[in-house]
Symmetry: C2
């Protein structure tokens, strides 16, 4: 076996052209299936979601699910990763925006609330918070991912405040790290309260009050 001709060298990582796979073609698109799985997990949580539910939601039958994503736990982990990616693309732009700090934060919370309040059968909250509240205690891998999610948010907020301070939008003795933790705390509280059914108006009010204090009138 001098030359390995097994795979044609994939220069373009995901070409829009189907790469002519060998056997029977898939009846599903992994991306959309994973999205459906994520929706279900967000709605019901890990324990209350059965493989049959997932099978029905994705349109894949159980063996296909298994072949594509592994067992239930692996599918959950992949769903969670997908959630984080989605959140990053939804947020990423705003964090790097050049708006004044108050506007920037308002936008961030608006997008967050869009995510938390979405869902056909009731608001779904923040998947990171949900996972922390359930699986994180018993599964070290999941716990690590969740912790990483928290610190990622903390850091993003901290960078936000640091930038604002450099631009003179905050007082000299403002501590970006502390403010970031408060900003995260506000994210967490609205995520939880959203899932408990609190209407958007009240959540917006909480955000506004928190911003008043953090940005120190």
């Amino acid at each position: 076996m001098v030359q390995k001709s097994k795979k044609p060298p994939v220069t373009k990582i995901d070409a829009p052209v189907p790469p002519k796979r060998r056997g029977r073609p898939r009846a599903y698109q992994p991306d959309v299936a994973l999205g459906k799985a994520l929706d279900l997990f967000r709605k019901d949580g890990f324990a209350a979601t059965s493989l049959d539910d997932l099978s029905a939601a994705t349109g894949m039958n159980r063996p296909s699910l298994y072949g594509a994503f592994g067992d239930k736990r692996e599918l959950f982990i992949k769903s969670y990763r997908r959630y984080r990616e989605d959140a990053r693309v939804a947020m990423g732009g705003i964090f790097r925006d050049e708006l004044p700090i108050r506007r920037r934060l308002e936008r961030i919370y608006a997008v967050a609330l869009d995510i938390y309040l979405s869902g056909e059968s009731g608001p779904r909250g923040c998947f990171t918070v949900m996972t922390a509240a359930s699986e994180a205690v018993h599964d070290p891998d999941i716990r690590a991912m969740v912790l990483e999610g928290f610190t990622e948010l903390d850091k993003a907020f901290a960078a936000c405040f640091r930038l604002a301070k450099e631009k003179g939008e905050l007082s000299e003795n403002a501590d970006p790290v502390v403010l970031a933790q408060l900003a995260s705390a506000t994210i967490h509280t609205i995520a939880i309260r959203a899932r408990a059914g609190m209407p958007r108006k009240e959540l917006d009010a909480i955000v506004n009050g928190a911003l008043d204090v953090m940005l120190r009138a």
Copy 2:
């Protein structure tokens, strides 16, 4: 039978003397059994806790469990009520204490962290938050209880800040309601992060930073 001698008139509502029940005596104490059930629910959540688990933990077999507390959902609800009562007695005194505001809040958070970090197999977090993250979406009764839990905490904090303001410990333009929501947010964030495995030191630091900002250095 001129005088009704069926029951001796129970003037004292719960005498420490066992009231001579009629049939076979219970092999368990409902209070401690409910406590064990609460421990389990807090550890694993509703869906991941089976009746067999509960049976093993309480020492009662399933039919007895059913007879004493109703089905799984009812047992969960009773466990949650118990949690709230426990939390109230643990907190109640401090909220009404006459300490300076900073000290008072420090104590509150210390007690809260004691509750959230307790647990033989990992920190158990706040049961209200956990329940909001899971069952609250699908069960209106549970959702109502959880929402009530949130507003109860908000109100307690608000009273706290109102008192401090009256005593001149806060600036004139401080808004007790807004500060209370931030104080609740801080409770929520440490509850979640505790369950995600964040060590107490870091949680204490978050509390301290939050107090700095709320009490306006």
